[in-house]
């Protein structure tokens, strides 16, 4: 990725330019100390003077009123706030008319920022005060006061916190009066500029110590740049939070959100006092110390999938290279390319007006449809369809360009969704809510309606990242998520009636990705690179999960690696310094998944015997139990030396009826309640009681026995035996009550049990057809 800069031969402003701001993707306003406000139109390459301010107004900062206000979107920003050195801020309309001037601070007003919904304005000044103003410029409160000037201020993502500078310190202050303030020393020199992104919640700071740094919202340092030659005078996040720009003397840098730098430009600009990203995130403008306004747009983004490599060579041109035969195709677009995504044999490109869908089989005839609104902020692909997110909503399209659905939930804010907080699979869409970060909304993709009973999935702590698995049956759709403590959890998406368990399968997980062809999960866990070959194993046999993992030392990735893609058996990880690392995992688990999904158990066993790998056998064991194929499970368990389980499976096979077999398989997976329910439904009361007795679940056993008025004596007998074995006395009130006047007669009990088993056998014999097919039932 690179910046292509353009600079006029002669500066339009006579003095240094102090601030710039975009109105649309092609229109920019700049203010300078020569008192001019100039409007730049990039389509016609014109720069016209909008207004000349009075001679005593020296502008310092400008910020356009946010475009989307309370869900309603205006097509264009209508006015902006301009702060000046005489202690005032001015509300100025698009035509350049000063609508209002407000005396705000003693000394210069150094920065002014609207919050995200445009309901409040914050200004900071040389007098060290932070003031909050209403939309019309009425003073609401003085939030804080300190002894040093405040050079820069930024709103938090929810507009409820404010980040500001205090010398070498950064301070996050919530708007509520008594909430806790977060304060930390961030730089060795005075901090000149801060920015806080609403999408990824990361903070940027730049200072006179010639460094720029990236922080998370808890004040943890994620990246610190090397020392530059000159102080860093400006930093700015792109709206989607993927990139940021850094400005210094004769320097313009483009960086990834993790801090490493994509490109460096050394234009002849003097110091860059202010940088602004255009709304679509493709261009930046910089206010230069020598009166210039520099424009730069981002080119040479790359997308790679399997054997295709696509580069955005110019603003409207893409080059597709097929690495296998070196064939090159050029794709031309009518408008500027804003976003693109390449996956599942399709390339989806959004320009400012249209969406193009290319198939990798045919680059010549894309499918084109018009977009409702220009700025697509995210494209997400699944095998059957893809998703576009823009400021107005979430839209699901098929690869034929047909709108499938547009899921919604109350209080949805689409402008802050990113690939971590939204996940798409063939049948399900998951979105993490912003207003309550503990909640995940699940939708059916075909209808756009909430899944199941419409209740969202909720967790006990804040969720950072979610991912849906891509393959397999809809009923078995799984979602994994990382919470605030960096623990990895898995749960089922379908939740009919009973609450599905949310099971923890990893700790200190930095990043994760599902494989695109089978349900294998890859991630970086603490210091280890981990692949969960069969995450579903936790629902089958929890102890088996560690055996189905592939682990590798990940120290070579340094800290904070990110998984870029997990395609086929190739996993690509981006290190914190920006370098890509490609890794190959064994292809066998994927093949195994394929066999199992088509119930080719013989082939699966043969594969495992060929590979002779314990991990693979463990996967097969778990898969077989999940599909209730006990023969395969027995072989697989035997191969990994789990003799106890082989025995148990053997005993299951000897059970007389289908119901008890199923129940015992459920028991095997630890689903005691399900097993009991199944037995009760089948009328096998004694078996249900016996299950509870075996589990020493005495109370429940007695309860069942009493309820069905059978085998009370059996329960009591076993209880008595248990107590005698351990030399204990009965203390349970209910057992004492029932034991009164009941003589335990083992012979009678044994006879009764025999009778029950015979009865079950008889029943099973009556329906032999069913008995023969206890295999897979999806």
């Amino acid at each position: 990725m690179r910046l292509k800069t353009s600079l006029l031969k002669e500066p339009k402003h006579k003095e240094l330019v102090s601030c710039v701001g975009w109105t649309t993707a092609d229109e920019l306003y700049s203010c300078s100390e020569d008192h001019q406000i100039i409007k730049w139109n990039l389509l016609t390459c014109e720069a016209t003077q909008v207004a000349k301010l009075p001679d005593d107004i020296y502008p310092i900062d400008l910020h356009w009123f946010p475009k989307s206000v309370g869900g309603k979107r205006q097509t264009q920003a209508e006015n902006f706030v301009l702060t000046s050195s005489d202690g005032k801020f001015h509300l100025i309309s698009k035509s350049g008319r000063v609508e209002k001037s407000v005396e705000a601070h003693c000394g210069a007003v150094l920065a002014g920022r609207w919050n995200y919904d445009g309901t409040a304005l914050v200004t900071v000044g040389e007098d060290g005060q932070i003031k909050i103003w209403s939309k019309s410029g009425m003073l609401r409160s003085t939030l804080a006061q300190q002894g040093t000037p405040i050079y820069s201020v930024a709103w938090g993502p929810d507009s409820e916190k404010i980040l500001y500078t205090s010398g070498k310190q950064l301070i996050i202050k919530p708007l509520q009066a008594n909430a806790k303030i977060l304060q930390w020393k961030a730089h060795d020199g005075i901090i000149l500029k801060v920015d806080w992104n609403s999408v990824n919640d990361l903070i940027l700071s730049a200072g006179e110590d010639c460094k720029y740094k990236v922080w998370d919202s808890y004040g943890r340092l994620l990246y610190s740049s090397q020392s530059h030659e000159y102080p860093i005078t400006s930093v700015a996040w792109a709206l989607d939070g993927e990139l940021f720009a850094v400005g210094s003397f004769h320097t313009l840098r483009l960086c990834d959100k993790t801090g490493w730098s994509y490109a460096l430009e050394k234009p002849n600009t003097g110091s860059l006092f202010n940088i602004a990203w255009s709304i679509d995130g493709t261009q930046i403008a910089g206010a230069c110390g020598n009166g210039h306004v520099i424009f730069a747009h981002v080119v040479e983004q790359r997308w790679v999938w399997k054997n295709y490599e696509i580069t955005l060579t110019k603003r409207r041109t893409m080059e597709v290279r097929n690495v296998l035969n070196d064939a090159v195709d050029l794709l031309e677009f009518r408008d500027r390319v804003i976003k693109a995504s390449l996956n599942y044999e399709h390339l989806v490109v959004s320009t400012s007006l249209q969406c193009y869908i290319f198939s990798t089989k045919n680059w010549n005839t894309p499918l084109i449809f018009d977009l409702k609104e220009g700025t697509v902020s995210l494209i997400l692909q699944a095998e059957r369809h893809f998703l576009l997110v823009d400021g107005g909503g979430i839209y699901l399209y098929s690869y034929e360009g047909r709108l499938i659905s547009s899921p919604k939930f109350p209080g949805m804010r689409t402008d802050i969704l990113n690939a971590q907080t939204i996940s798409l699979s063939n049948d399900t869409l998951a979105v993490r809510d912003k207003s309550d970060e503990k909640v995940i909304y699940l939708f059916e993709t075909s209808s756009g309606k909430p899944l199941g009973d419409g209740k969202p999935l909720s967790h006990k702590t804040e969720i950072l990242e979610i991912a849906l698995d891509q393959k397999g049956l809809t009923n078995e759709r799984k979602i994994v998520f990382i919470d605030k403590n960096r623990d990895l959890y898995i749960t089922s998406v379908k939740r009919f009636g009973k609450e599905q368990k949310i099971i923890k399968i990893g700790t200190m997980v930095h990043t994760l990705a599902w494989n695109d062809t089978c349900n294998i999960l890859g991630g970086v866990q603490d210091e280890r690179f981990t692949v969960w070959y069969y995450p579903n194993a936790v629902y089958v046999d929890k102890e088996l999960l560690p055996k189905t993992l592939f682990e590798k030392d990940a120290s070579e990735f340094s800290k904070n690696p990110q998984i870029v893609s997990f395609v086929g058996s190739q996993i690509t990880i981006r290190r914190a310094d920006g370098s890509l690392i490609h890794m190959n995992i064994s292809p066998y688990p994927a093949i195994l998944h394929e066999y199992v999904s088509s119930s080719k158990w013989e082939d699966a066993i043969r594969l495992c015997r060929f590979v002779k790998d314990q991990t693979l056998w463990a996967c097969l064991a778990a898969m077989a139990v999940a599909s209730k194929d006990m023969d395969t499970a027995e072989i697989a368990y035997a191969s990994i030396g789990e003799i106890d389980k082989v025995k148990y499976i053997g005993s299951i096979k000897d059970l007389p009826s289908k119901e008890s077999k199923l129940a015992h398989i459920l028991l095997f997976s630890g689903n005691i309640q399900d097993a009991e329910m199944l037995l009760l439904q089948a009328g096998l009361i004694y078996q249900a009681i016996q299950v509870n007795i075996n589990l020493y679940n005495w109370e429940r056993a007695l309860e069942l026995a009493m309820k069905h008025k059978t085998h009370v004596d059996t329960v009591l007998a076993y209880r008595q035996k248990f107590l005698d074995d351990f030399g204990k006395k009965e203390t349970n009130q209910r057992f004492l009550q029932n034991a009164e006047g009941l003589e335990v007669n083992w012979d009678k009990i044994k006879a009764k049990i025999e009778l029950e088993i015979a009865k079950e056998r008889e029943r099973a014999a009556a329906t032999p057809a069913v008995r023969a097919s206890i295999t897979i039932q999806h």
């Binding site: 030659e229 004769h250 460096l264 310094d577 370098s579 490609h582 890794m583 190959n584 292809p587």
Partner: protein, 132 residues
């Protein structure tokens, strides 16, 4: 004799026997003096002219010298600033080189991992072929 008498009366005769009030000798000397004076004045005027010419010339020279001097100073300053400029340029290029180096390092790391992948895959293929 008459001459003497007339002389006492203040009258004289010149060679042409014209009657004169002034003694011809004195008169002649006066005339001579007058001529000499005229010649002197002329010479002085010429001298003055020459001197002014000279001054003008010197002034011009001085001006030229001053110009050259300023030029020299300017050139010297330019020289100094060019070294500075070069330094700045060098610094900029160094920064660009450093950037490219980090990019190169990234590519090197990526290349290495790709090589490793290739080795892995070849190994896998070999293993596969031999086992079959």
């Amino acid at each position: 004799m008459a001459k003497g008498i007339l002389g006492e009366a203040g009258l004289h005769f010149d060679e042409l026997n014209k009657l004169r009030v002034l003694d011809p000798e004195v008169s002649q000397q006066t005339v001579e003096l007058k001529d000499e004076c005229k010649a002197f004045v002329d010479k002085i005027a010429e001298f003055k002219k020459n001197v002014s010419n000279f001054i003008e010339l010197v002034d011009q020279q001085a001006k030229a010298a001053e110009n050259e001097k300023i030029k020299a100073i300017g050139a010297r300053n330019l020289l100094k600033s060019i070294t500075k400029q070069r330094e700045a340029q060098q610094q900029q290029l160094q920064a660009l080189i450093a950037e490219k180096m980090t990019q190169l390092e990234r590519y090197r790391v990526e290349y290495e991992t790709l090589c490793k992948t290739e080795v892995d895959q070849n190994e896998f293929i070999d293993q596969f072929i031999f086992q079959k």
